[in-house]
Subunit: 756 residues, 2 copies
């Protein structure tokens, strides 16, 4: 745990610059607009350790897979997110020397991400050649104008002599990827041109061996400044516009850079790309910098109106939840059904911008509660559109139906670890659950009965083929899987996988009863198939230990080295100095230990929370919680909700803090690699589903709130079936206001309440 | 299955050249002398598909490991065997055009590996420019002069016009590796020189990032021919001696090439390497080609005297067993304790020249029976010398004691698949078993009580740390392992692993009772440790199914999709057209299926064959055999021995054939990648331990022979405790002759017999 930023309700702000925390700071000050994004590295030179990272939504590269011994069913390629062509670098020279905070003396440093406005700013006073210069920078990627990046710099001469300033503004394709496994280059330059204050560069991802499309990207820059244009540069891998001038004592000079980024994802031909870039550059030129900022502020204000959560009495918690929502929305806001939510969003390369099951399991509920249904529906459409690729993935394993990928850019599995790729197949049920969850929450069955039913049937066919019948046990089983808990892999009969597969088959049979005749014809599920599915539902093996009163995570789990107390709960504990175990223990030791990375049995219990008795929830929570090390950022929120449900308030709050401030406090000691974007859902889940006890049962919205002891109260907005509600929870009572839409009856602490 | 060579008792011979079988032919005609070896590619140009492969014993390269997500305990580097600098290529031009059998018309083709003499020869008549030329080639790597490669070519002009001939003889460092994962180059050139008929090239393996030694290799060539020397070439990556002349009608011209290969493995400095090469070249120069051939023939004759097996009545079987022994001895004959037996020896790159557990489990018994004890002792010393690296490997996993590598060149684990690397740990017991087996067979405890005891204690410490105690079961267990059967990995309580770990601890405790006081002091095993080991021996969990009367391969194995017949034996069968399953099924399907790659439970039963009842052996064989697909070349011999023991003669013979002619008949459809060198032990094991029922119990040699129905009889030599025996088995009786050494009493069919 390391807190490098100050506590502030709306800002991620610091007045310190420590070289050893540079990467951490860069991750924390990432900005994005779903279309593109970047880490918080400086625009000007910085010769210390830093991770330059700019990423474009949906732009990826299939690298060849390298393994020990190749086997059938391994993915053909390994998808990577290429670090984009750098369009933000601006070299600033004072009297001929570049500003470089890794070397220069400086004071009055401030770095601030304003989450309310979506603007990253920075200021400092640097000493160059005996002169003090104040530098201010402000930048954003616009959520009102997706192709636009804007950066405004100002320089004030605080010395009593004039200084010479030179500014070199770049678009540079000489970029290396920084992944755990290589330092390669993924961009070639197709075209370039420069004028005095403008320039454009067209790049293309390098060739690949797998026939997936190469991406063409065009970046155009323009500048506004009091400085004079100097000779531009047009080199092999970069272009630069140069500016120079003199700053008199006390004078302030400003420098503004705008970049338009377009890609072949949106334009078919080079000509169309070029034309679009020109038009967009012109469009941006019609507005002043302040107007562009205003549009950004307004757009963010609209998002916050629908989603803000205020916490009374705990600024750290307040900052946490806003950081969560800000970063989640910066990564995805449902404007493009071809995009999804990468675990690191635009903030790093590790796990990159690929799509995981995190989206359906953790993020979808947040979007359902905080934004228009269209945003969530686009997440569902993403999977529907990738159904052909999911059929391909199953076929690669010799299986019927559809297997959604563990890691993907285009729907085809592109991560190569067999124990993950074709074993962590619970994702198929998670994706089905999202269809159910959407219908249940919105009350709208349209998707489920049309596109959704195709997805459900395809997944059901997969499950029906993937289970096997064990004669000896007279049960259907699922062998060779990895649950959500990746610290135990290639196990047999993971309860979570078995339970959700059974549910998926059951739900699909239910949906089939409701689809139109036309749709049923399209789905072409035979009576034989249905009978088989029903048989699996009836005879699915679900490991359980009656004596302990728990669902057993998988076969053999209880044979591990587990010591029980008098209540039959484990007393095993990892020594504090060996946490996180994935940074201290060998994989061998982790696999054999009873320690659990993230909610597994409890993940499925959360999905169907109200189907279990209080006793079942308690027994399972009490057994699994002490064994869980929460080394996935997606673990704590689920346990927080479960703890809240059991009224383990202290535990629930502890887990909330771990979730909401995971990156702000660098709990897992890995935030330097990028933010845990999909886990940004955790704070919202813990507050809304946890503390407030929000549920939707039989179409009715329900709450059973409590206020964490250290808080005075909290207040959140909720989008529910064409209504915007405000729920205000204090220690005394809960007030629910209808801000928009028709009155409705909700259940509050078990009582029906009319909200008008 | 594909038989591309003719049946012949001493030869691997064919009169056909089919381009699609070229790689297969190259594998089959590989030659080696433990120090170096090569595939049977042609010396002259061949523009068709071919796998040029020359390898040097102990020369390897550590490549960087690339994985999905890195975890602690994964090996630092991935060891590869580099394809050596090519010293055999000879381009032959007739009237200016290169001979190239991929393009030219030719007749009278013969390719012949003479196993008796260790010589590969080839002849054909090729038509070039309207002229018929007969070409003959003969080559060998000398087992009497390890650094020497010799090649003799003769050209006879069968046309009625004279032809011009040009011969270019090369040493060429421009070589690409051909592994499943890359096509890279591993050689740089340090030095070169050429004269008229001689030349030398010094190469070095490229730099690596892991601090392991780079290898320097010097190759020097000289030539004898009636042709005149033309201008030599000294290019960036190769050198060439050129020759030219005219061949008159009916005239025969000969061309002889000798190459000396030395490496930095034997010489510390470049100067020493240079000097040694010169001396060796001079030494070779003192002998005529015929003398060099004679020395080769004599040396092979000596090996055959000690080891030959003759089979009366089945030439295919005869050819099989000789091919086995020839290839095994070509790979290793115990002259250098730093070398070992790679699964593909010098015949391919896949699995390369690395050391596996195959050596101890399968090859050692063959050497014990066919050669001097020194050969076997060197195999044991190899592991003793690598003990420090084995400590390192265990430490990488956070474990006590020593973990011998799954794949290695220097003792450090260098293969990266976690399910193999740190899970297939039965190898530790296999290596301990070799110590026991050596002592038991030779009657010599010296190694076991000295170096061996250090290895045993180090392995015992590993096991004591690697097991865990399951309170619930009051048993020690071993979770997270892969047995010999890699088609079921990351399993719990693999019977083979648990049983052999238990045995290892027990044997180590026994050895500790016998070691000298001095050695005991060195080993420093505390009473507490001994007590712990004894406790593990007493409480080790060994999965068993009383009802089926079998040892269970691992927890959950019986929950797989297995259908039993009325005798409780599985009736599962893989359709013939889906075999081998590893070329037809996804890894996912294989892992979940009940099909077994190679002897697993039966491997351990074989080790301790006489500790089990007839009923136990029968029940386990009958249960596991139908499920076993024998897709490791190391499977069939073990089942053959067990079948012979149970007098399932037909099954035993079927399995012998599969073993002994595995490559000759290309059973697994992968011989083109190289031969299954360590499996060359299988034929001998099946005949000697199987058909002849050879055992050593309480120091006594025992036989219980039968003759396969299709054979008239068989005869084999056996080296046993300073004696050379000849065992002659016919359908009528068994005759045992003492060819060398003192008389002894053996047990034949249960009766004591004095052999004089």
């Amino acid at each position: 745990m390391k807190r490098t930023f100050e506590i502030d309700p709306w800002k991620v702000i610091t007045h310190e610059l420590n070289p050893e925390d540079k990467r951490l700071q860069e991750s924390m000050t990432s900005i994005g607009n779903e279309y593109m994004g970047m880490r918080g590295m400086f625009e000007e030179k910085y010769s210390g350790d830093s991770h330059q990272g700019i990423y474009l939504g949906g732009v990826w590269y299939p690298d060849k897979t390298r393994v020990g011994w190749w086997k059938i069913g391994y993915p053909e390629y390994f998808g990577k997110v290429p670090n984009a062509i750098d369009f933000i670098s601006v070299d600033i020279k004072i009297n001929g020397e570049s500003i470089d905070l890794a070397k220069d003396s400086f004071s009055d440093f401030e770095l601030c991400l304003d989450m309310k406005r979506g603007i990253l700013s920075r200021s400092f006073i640097v000493e160059k050649d005996g002169h003090k210069i104040e530098v201010k920078s402000e930048r954003f990627v616009s959520i009102a104008f997706k192709e636009l990046y804007a950066n405004k710099l100002t320089f004030t001469n605080l010395s009593n002599e004039s200084v010479k300033i030179e500014v070199q503004s770049l678009i540079n394709a000489d970029v290396y990827n920084e992944d755990s496994n290589y330092g390669e280059q993924f961009w070639g330059v197709l075209n370039k041109e420069v004028a005095d204050k403008t320039g454009r560069l067209v790049g293309q991802t390098v060739e690949n061996n797998f026939g997936t499309p190469r991406f063409t990207v065009e970046m155009a820059m323009s500048h506004e400044t009091e400085l004079s244009a100097a000779k531009s540069e047009n080199e092999e891998k970069y272009i630069a516009n140069n500016f120079e001038g003199t700053i008199e004592p006390d004078q302030t000079v400003s420098f503004e850079k705008r970049v338009i980024v377009t890609t072949s994802r949106d334009y078919d031909t080079d000509e169309a790309l070029d034309e679009a870039t020109t038009n967009l550059m012109n469009k941006a030129g019609e507005q002043s910098y302040d107007q562009l900022v205003k549009a950004q502020e307004d757009a963010w204000a609209e998002r916050w109106t629908k989603s803000d959560i205020t916490i009374d009495g705990d600024e750290a918690a307040q900052q946490g939840i806003r950081f969560n929502l800000f970063q989640l929305f910066s990564t995805y806001y449902g404007n493009d059904a071809r995009l999804n939510i990468g675990p690191k969003g635009f903030t790093g390369e590790k796990y990159g911008g690929a799509t995981y099951w995190d989206t359906e399991a953790f993020c979808l509920p947040v979007y359902l509660g905080t934004s228009d249904p269209k945003v969530s529906e686009n997440l569902l459409m993403y999977r529907y559109n990738q159904l052909p690729a999911a059929f391909h993935n199953a076929q690669q394993q010799g299986l019927d139906g559809a297997l959604y990928p563990m890691v993907t850019f285009n729907g085809v599995e592109c991560h190569n670890e067999w124990e993950i790729t074709f074993e962590e197949i619970h994702r198929n049920s998670d994706i089905a659950y999202a269809i159910y969850n959407y219908a249940k929450t919105t009350g709208d069955n349209t998707y489920a009965l049309h596109e959704g039913s195709e997805v459900l049937v395809a997944i059901a066919r997969f499950w029906a083929d993937r289970v096997h019948f064990s004669e000896r046990n007279d049960k259907y089983m699922i062998h060779g899987v990895t649950g959500a808990d990746e610290y135990q892999n290639n196990v047999d009969n993971n309860w979570y996988t078995n339970a959700t597969a059974k549910w998926e088959l059951k739900y699909t049979l239910e949906v089939l009863e409701e689809v139109s005749e036309e749709q049923a014809k399209k789905l072409a599920v035979s009576d034989e198939e249905k009978a088989k599915w029903q048989d699996i539902v009836d005879k699915m093996y679900l490991p359980e230990d009656k004596e302990l009163g728990i669902f057993v995570q998988h076969d053999g789990f209880l044979d591990k080295e587990i010591t029980l107390d008098e209540n039959n709960n484990p007393i095993n504990k990892v020594p504090a100095d060996e946490l996180p175990i994935n940074q201290h223990w060998s994989w061998d030791k982790i696999l054999r230990s009873p320690y659990i990375k993230q909610a597994d049995v409890l993940q499925a219990m959360w999905y169907f929370m109200d189907d279990f008795t209080e006793e079942q929830k308690k027994r399972n929570f009490d057994f699994y919680e002490p064994l869980t090390v929460h080394e996935s950022s997606l673990s704590a929120p689920i346990y927080a909700i479960m703890a809240a449900d059991l009224r383990y308030q202290e535990k629930s709050v502890e887990l909330y803090e771990r979730t909401a401030r995971l990156d702000l406090d660098n709990y897992n000691n890995d935030t330097k690699d990028g933010l845990h974007i999909t886990a940004m859902s955790g704070g919202w889940l813990a507050i809304v589903q946890g503390f407030a006890g929000m549920r939707v049962n039989d179409g009715q919205l329900q709450f059973k709130p409590f206020v964490p002891q250290a808080w005075n109260g909290y207040n959140f907005r909720l989008n529910f079936r064409d209504r915007l509600l405000e729920i205000d929870v204090t220690k005394e009572n809960t007030e629910i206001k209808l801000l928009k839409g028709e009155p409705l009856t909700i259940k509050l602490n078990g009582e029906d309440v009319e909200v008008k």
